[in-house]
Structures are given as C-alpha cells and as structure tokens.
Amino acid sequence: MALLEVSAIEVNYGRVTALSGVDLTVNEGEIVTVLGANGAGKSTLLRAILGAVPLKAGGIRFSGADITRAPTHSRIASGLVLVPEGRRILISLSVEENLQLGAHMRTDTTRVKAEIDAIYQRFPNLAERRHMLASCLSGGEQQMLAIGRAMLAKPRLMMLDEPSLGLSPLFVSKLFDLIKELNRDGLSILLVEQNTGKALGVAHQATVLELGRVVMAGDPKALAADPRLQQAYLGEGTPSH
C-alpha cells in the first residue's frame, strides 16, 4: 500500500526550476532511496514533501490524505519526519533536550520518557552525555542524535537527507545498519544519499534525479548494474564531481 505518493510536483526558486514533473511512491514498510549529484534537487524534494518549500504544481498524498496544502507542522504531526541535511542539532540545547524537542508535539509524556530511555539504550554514547550541550558530540554521535530526535516524533515515514555525509567509514556502516534495523521494525524510509553503493544496498526502490527530473527509477539491483549510473555516480568512468 502506498504510504507516500508524490505526483508530478514542480518547485521553482525564483526563475530557476528546481524540480519538474517528479513522481515518487513509498510503500508501507519500504526503504526508497533518491540518488543524484549535487544540485539534482534531492534536498528540495524532501523539503517539498515536508511542506518547507512551496509547490508550483503537482500533489502529495500521505497515508491516504491529500497533504498538498498542509502546513509543515501538521505533516510532521501526521508522521512525516525529516532528519535534515547537516543534522541541524540545536547546540544551545542539551542532548536530552534535543531528544525532547523531537517529541515537542506529543502529550503522552510517560511514553516519551520510555522512548528516550530506549534511545539511550540503543546509543550509549548519548546516554553518557545526556546533560551536556549537544555541541560536544562528534559528527557521528550528532547523526545518531538527529535520528533519535526524529524517532521521538513518532514517524511513519522517516526522510533522511544525506545522513552519511562527513561520517567516518565506521559510523557509515553503523548508520546503514541502523537504517535497516529501523526498517525491519516497520518504519518506512525515504533516503537521500551520495553514497550510492550503500544506499542501493539497503533500498527496495531507487530513483535517480538529474537537474530536477527523474531520469531512472526502479529496482536498485538493476540500477546498480546500469552502466549510466555506474558512470555518473559510482565513480567508474568519469566522475561527475
């Protein structure tokens, strides 16, 4: 069953077309990855789905409801949650307060407390530093915090924008393990990545954007074998950047 349906959306920044005629579907329980070079419109797509940039045309449905005109906060309340690019941890808040911020719309405080404890069990590094300012965390720990914060918003679809960016290889593997684990627990995931190989390895569906248009879409294994993708993003042949 389709959880998220993006149909023919168009986004402009001034006169520049950032997205045009983009379709995307995420089914319940799937990991879908969106690939593409810098400036292909991947982050814009996630922001458009979240309602943080206005659509010029097209529509978005989430869990059966038309959310094309819904404000960002009500989309998040309905379970559409973003782990933004660069993580965007609040550095003037403590680690724990960052987690609590993820649950800022929830009123079931005892559940929230239990979930925060569960996150500390999963990420002991965060538990140790729970009362320290979040700025003291390493990049990898900040990424875990950003994902933990998103989990506390009770997501039904978690969108991750380049989560592996700037992480050490060890943390990148940990991150993709975590993504698989969250998915196994039933969370649907929309993953934007530059790390094409890893992303195709965990995804059930993949879409490739180029200059704001969908140029390839389908089975990740087939895409991984596609010479055009090989050439453009896997670094065999001429790298694109």
Binding site: T72, I76, A77, L82, R88, L90, L101, H104
Partner: protein
C-alpha cells in the same frame, strides 16, 4: 540608611528587571530590539489610570490595561515586525520606535503632558524591621516580579513550549523543519513581552503614584542597559542587570546626588562592557556547527 537604600534600589531594580526581561525575550528569540516596549510599559500605567478614573475597580482596570498592551503588541508584530523581517534587522527597530512615539502622543492628546497623580490604592502599610521601613505594596510588587521571572525561566527550561522557543531562538529554519509553528509562536512571544512590560508599568504607577506619557523612556533605556549588562538573551542576566541598575541609581542619588544618576548608571554599563563585552551572564556568540 545604607540598608534602607539597598532595599529601595532593589525595588526599583525589580521594575527594570521586568522591562529588561521583556526586551531580552524579543532580542533573544526574535532578534528584534523592540522599542515599542517602553510604550507598552507606559500603557500599563496610564491605561490603568484611565480606567480607574472611569470608575472601574482596580483589578478590572489592571486587567484592561494588560489586555490593551497585549493588543497593541500584536499590532506591532503585524505592522512593524512581520512585514519587515525579511529585510534589514534595523527596519523593524525603527518602526517599533515609531510605535513608541505614536503611543506617547496618543496619550498626550488624551491626558496632556503633565504628570498625573496615580491614586493610592492600598493603605500605606509598612513593615518596620529594626530601623528599616519596607512598604508592603513594594514588597508584594517585588515578590510578584521575581516570582514571575522565576516562573518564566522554569517554563523556558523545562516545558515543550519553552524548548520550542529556545529552538526558534537558535535557528529559525531548523525550528520550522522540526514542525514548530513559528507563525503562531511569534505573536505569542509579542504578547508575553507586552504583558511583562505593561505589568512593570502598572507596578511603577502603584509604587511611585504617578504616570506621564513619557514615563517609559527613561525606564526603557535603563532596562536596555540592564539587559546588556546582564547579557542579551539571558533571563537571569536581565534580572541581575535590572537589580544592579536599580541599586546603582538609588545609591548614587542618596550618596552622590540626583544629577549624577545617569553618569553612574551608564558608566556602570560602560565599565561592564569593557570588562565583559558579552555581559555578565551572556555567552560568547555561538557559531553554527555542522
């Protein structure tokens, strides 16, 4: 004599403190030096005075004045802040200053420029401890001010709404991506800061039994100084700054002379800024870290 003056200074300081907290909320969260705040302070006193003159009972008059100040603050948000926030940060500062002048002159038209006597509302009861005289009304005012600020600080630190406000203060775009409804939160903050300023004006009128159209100006500038001394954006900084300035003012009046008050107060500001440019409790400017 000295202890007596210290008590008087702390009581004046409590008024500066409330106004300084109103300023610090606006600048800390909205990055907006809101110069309509002295006007809202004045409205708190003058509107209560006006309603009392119309025969309203005190509590109703006070509530009416706070309500009017909140409404005017929403107007400032709508007309001065919301329209200008995309542009230069100095533009809403100037237009809020316009609101101050407008409010002062509207009151001037209604009540004239003379100082009006605010009625003595409560019997003149004093606590006498040793040689000290402490007015009950002053004591209650100070307790209300400190209690309110302590509550506000607790609220910001521990509630979801408080974390939302601090998130907006740190980074508006992140706040939006976290699902914080900024369009609703900003007017709420304007109301909150208006209520603090107007309450301070009301307490000033009750304690010093006078109102004028321009009563906000001197207090407003000293409150800005208090905020800067304490560290911009820090609530407890505003508390310390407010009380310090109140003390400095009262002590210099009684020990040096009334004509050096501004030299003492702004001299204190200068010295503290030289020694600690970020203010007593201010943090050095934080940089966004990826």
């Amino acid at each position: 004599m000295l202890t007596q003056q210290i008590i008087n200074g702390l009581m004046l300081g409590a008024i500066y403190m409330l106004v300084a907290v109103a300023f610090t909320l606006a600048i800390g969260v909205l990055n907006f030096l809101n110069f309509s705040i002295p006007g809202l302070f004045m409205l708190g006193g003058v509107a209560t005075f006006g309603f009392l003159k119309m025969g309203w009972p005190f509590l109703l008059a006070a509530a009416g004045a706070l309500f009017i100040a909140a409404l005017v603050s929403l107007l400032v948000e709508r007309l001065a802040y919301r329209r200008m926030k995309e542009g230069d940060a100095d533009v809403p500062l100037v237009s809020s200053l316009g609101f101050l002048v407008l409010l002062e002159n509207l009151v001037l038209i209604r009540y004239g420029s003379d100082q009006q006597a605010f009625p003595a509302l409560f019997p003149d009861m004093n606590l006498r401890v040793g040689g000290l005289v402490i007015g009950i009304v002053q004591l209650v005012s100070m307790a209300i001010s400190l209690g309110l600020v302590a509550w506000l600080s607790w609220f910001l630190r521990t509630t979801n709404a408080g974390r939302r406000i601090r998130t907006v203060a740190e980074n508006r775009e992140t706040a939006m991506l976290m699902g914080i409804n900024i369009e609703r939160l900003v007017p709420q903050l304007f109301v909150c800061s208006a209520l603090l300023a107007a309450l301070a004006g009301l307490l000033f009128a009750i304690n010093y039994q006078q109102v004028t159209p321009f009563m906000g100006e001197g207090i407003g500038f000293k409150a800005v100084a208090a905020m800067i001394i304490g560290g911009m954006g820090s609530i407890w900084g505003a508390v310390i700054g407010g009380l310090l300035i109140g003390l400095a003012e009262v002590l210099s009046v009684s020990f040096i002379g009334a004509d050096v008050v501004n030299i003492t107060v702004y001299g204190l500001l200068l010295v503290i800024l030289i020694l600690r440019p970020q203010g007593l409790l201010g943090r050095p400017p934080a940089r966004e870290k990826l």
